[in-house]
Amino acid sequence: MTANALPPIKPTPYATLFDDNIWRTALRKPLYSSVGFTNAALPSEVSFFGYSRGQNVPGAGNASGVPSKICHTNMELAGVLAKPKKFRCNGIGVFMLPAAFGSSDVPSASDPTFSATATQDSDLLEDLLLLTYSMVLTVKVGEKNYADHPLWFFPSNQGFGGLAAVANDTVSASAVGNLDIVLPMTIGNGMNYRTYPFLIEDSQAFSATLRCQFASPPSLNDPRLVTVILYGAMYREVQ
């Protein structure tokens, strides 16, 4: 190797032997869990990760009370990681699905109504604003807090972007309806734990809790589904 040559890139080991004498492989795999919110005052407290896939989605409203699927959670056990899995968390995000649940377990476009006279507010944008700026997220592993901050600290940074063009029909005026389709999302830099990631050990209890601590919480327009995502690496058993 010459003096100016770059050092060789070391291969990532296939598996790692941990202190408990179990070999594990690492895999990028976010942990996520969802809760239903009804179109009423924001709840004072709701918890995530407390149920496994197949159990009912907790919360309230049409997005809750139904058996959870892939789109709801990837937890195998309620509140803990199944042995011998471990999880190294390096980021947290919160995502509000840009859909309304007008009936049980049926996501649909928000603001589907068109009217010539009714006020056309944007339910989707309003609900995202109220949720983002009214709640606090707490993430605990065991007894320790690893996040305890207003929700706007945790953008999911996933969704739609772009420009929209609008045309207004002034000829056949009576036939022109109000469109107020919006596709908002949270964007920005979330809390990043890459410098000092935190570890969720196997069988160790962990939770995420959303709280709204105002005396008279604001109300959502539509039933929603909200997901908390823990980004990071899953250390899973070698088979």
């Binding site: 929209a164 919006v182 920005g188 601590q213």
Partner: protein, 240 residues
């Protein structure tokens, strides 16, 4: 080789942050300290509004209906203008968020009215008023670490996306003014220079953050607003 350093040296942490100096073992954790200040609608932004000067349960700093008993939504300070022993804090960035909602005893949408009245956009008006008429000062002990206009401290967090709308041209036109504005840009990074030293909050050392309004006549927000200041960094907290 830089990337082979263990995690604890990634930031080249001074010994007062790691606990070495105090001989107290501390665990290091990415953390943000935050505090809110309330501003009253229709009232000129004050000459000086202090943050981080109250704890949860105490009244939020400032004026207006948003100055209520603080919850974890308002602040996570455990002591007034200081960190309780043995905690330490290495401050990496500073951000300010002018929340795009009206805040009194609860949160509400700005510009909730629609109809025949002139529809100015309260949310954007207020964001502009704060951003371009105030400054922020951050001091630790006697040393000033920041004293700049507020627009230098974007949060880069908010709501974006795509929207389409049209107006019914026949009959009572109802125009929607709902917006979700937020600041963009790179947060004020104390380490953004090769030799720059990030400020350190030693335990029990006092610090202050003030929002300053120094124009002859300051603008008045249209709604009751909350402004949150965030100190991002690395918390050294006690091992129990």
């Amino acid at each position: 080789m830089a990337d082979s350093y263990p995690l604890a040296t990634r930031f080249n942490l001074p010994p007062e942050v790691t606990g070495e100096l105090q001989n107290i073992p501390l665990e290091l954790l990415p953390w943000s300290l935050y505090s809110s200040a309330a501003f009253a609608n229709g009232t000129a932004i004050p000459r000086q509004t202090q943050l981080f000067n109250y704890i949860r349960g105490s009244t939020v700093s400032g004026a207006g209906s948003g100055a209520i008993a603080a919850t974890r939504w308002h602040t996570n300070m455990e002591a007034i203008q200081t960190l309780p022993a043995p905690k330490t804090f290495l401050c990496t960035t500073l951000r300010v968020n002018i929340l795009p909602v009206a805040v009194t005893t609860t949160t509400a949408l700005a510009d909730d009215t629609v109809g025949t009245a002139e529809e100015n956009n309260d949310q954007v008006d207020d964001l502009l008023a704060f951003m371009f008429s105030t400054a922020l000062r951050f001091k630790i002990g006697e040393s000033t670490y920041v004293e700049h206009p507020l627009w230098m401290f974007p949060t880069n967090n908010g709501i974006g996306g795509l929207a389409a709308c049209s107006v019914h041209a026949n009959g009572s036109v109802i125009w929607q003014t709902r917006v979700a504005a937020h600041t963009r840009g790179v947060a004020y990074d104390f380490g953004d220079a090769a030799t720059a030293r990030r400020p350190v909050l030693w335990n029990q050392q006092s610090f202050t953050v003030d929002i300053l309004g120094e124009f002859a006549t300051m603008p008045s927000p249209a709604d009751d607003k909350i402004v949150q200041v965030v100190l991002d960094g690395v918390m050294g907290r006690e091992l129990q």
